[in-house]
Subunit: 272 residues, 2 copies
Amino acid sequence: MKRTAFFISDGTGITAETLGQSLLSQFENIEFRKLLRPYVDTVEKARDMVQQINAAAEADGQRPIIFETVVNRAIHDELAKSQGYIIDIFSTFLAPLEQELGAGSSYSVGKSHSIQHNSNYQDRIDAVHFAMDNDDGARTHHYKEADIILVGVSRCGKTPSCLYMALQYGIRAANYPLTDDDMERLQLPAALRPHKHKLFGLTIDPDRLASIRNERRPNSRYASFAQCEFEIREVENLFRRENIPHINSTHFSVEEISAKILVHMGIERRLK
Amino acid sequence: MKRTAFFISDGTGITAETLGQSLLSQFENIEFRKLLRPYVDTVEKARDMVQQINAAAEADGQRPIIFETVVNRAIHDELAKSQGYIIDIFSTFLAPLEQELGAGSSYSVGKSHSIQHNSNYQDRIDAVHFAMDNDDGARTHHYKEADIILVGVSRCGKTPSCLYMALQYGIRAANYPLTDDDMERLQLPAALRPHKHKLFGLTIDPDRLASIRNERRPNSRYASFAQCEFEIREVENLFRRENIPHINSTHFSVEEISAKILVHMGIERRLK
């Protein structure tokens, strides 16, 4: 029997979900049914939520866990009438923080989600377009504007990592595929050489790569284990020979790869 | 005088940062210097952090706020020796959650960040490639596999929204630009008609659009206020005439746009 967990917010629900997922992942022997409920921003919507929570309580035979970041107190009070076990994330921390900071918090709807509306919002959008325009070695003449250039074999995770760094951190990340030809020559492509200090390598286990490539082009030479193993061996040799920092992406998520790259390259994210 | 805030984790730091940003944004009269410190995963790195925290305390003349999701207790204990005001996010919630769930939590390093390694990880990567391949109307023959198709004028925010939905939610989002030609005809493009139930419109204030387009092509007709206003008026008329749900993206972040779309379209994110 799964236990139900709700992530409820009068905003996007990102904070409730991020924290809730982190906490629930610590209980690996319990299976959860997870439901994201953003924009519960009226008392009427809260009443509807109460019905959903109580229905889940009845169906599960145990009360659902509610991770909640509702700023509006009337909506919060309505949710509190449900049978759920409520984890009120904001109240838990805001009272002690107010004391420490010696200031009241502005407890108004949507406030908590205004962080994206400032000057670095446009930086993020520009970074996304930069990643799109400089994906897969399509262009190399903008590399002087890049914060980082990811290199590696085809389908080792370069594109999603670049896009994540752009969206999450506003970092301008290009990527360049190391293809067959480059590997025969066993040299760094000329287009990359002037930007060597910006290069970061991704590698991956050959069987994982073969499996990913097989989804794309089943039973091709491109997807064969032998070809994947060859390409990865050559690329890893190149990374070592040229002293290019690199990580193996096989067991890491896009979030983890991106955070590791930032730490390694010493890029200080501009948090505003 | 700014007050320093640290987001410290032995993992990616995403949870510490997301919650910390949400909480700090409630104090709009205090300026913070925010520092993200992921992968503090040894006692030695924790000692280095203590030095950074104490240096900030001295420079600011007040103790830094530390948002901390360190699972390893030895590392946590080291950080606790600093002069920072520590908000220990995991301990705060895990003890009551253990009681409610009647189970111990697996308090091991990195555990909290393993959520991306399950079966929906590949879904997210596939969704990113789907968004890339179906960006800007480049292809329309994959629309039957799309969860959603964003439509709107050039540079109104379609591409970043699609990529965010892919990365964050694993949703297959295509986008199709409504260009000059389509507007003259005042009809829905033929390629979109069979997928009308998947369409969602983005619109934007004309002066904001003109400003964005001017960054790209300064002083062009494309970027003129008159052209932007014309395009938006025509597109909004089309949305109304064809009953296409739509929102104005001007004052919303990519996160907010995405969450609003999901709520409106009734797409249940597959959270695992």
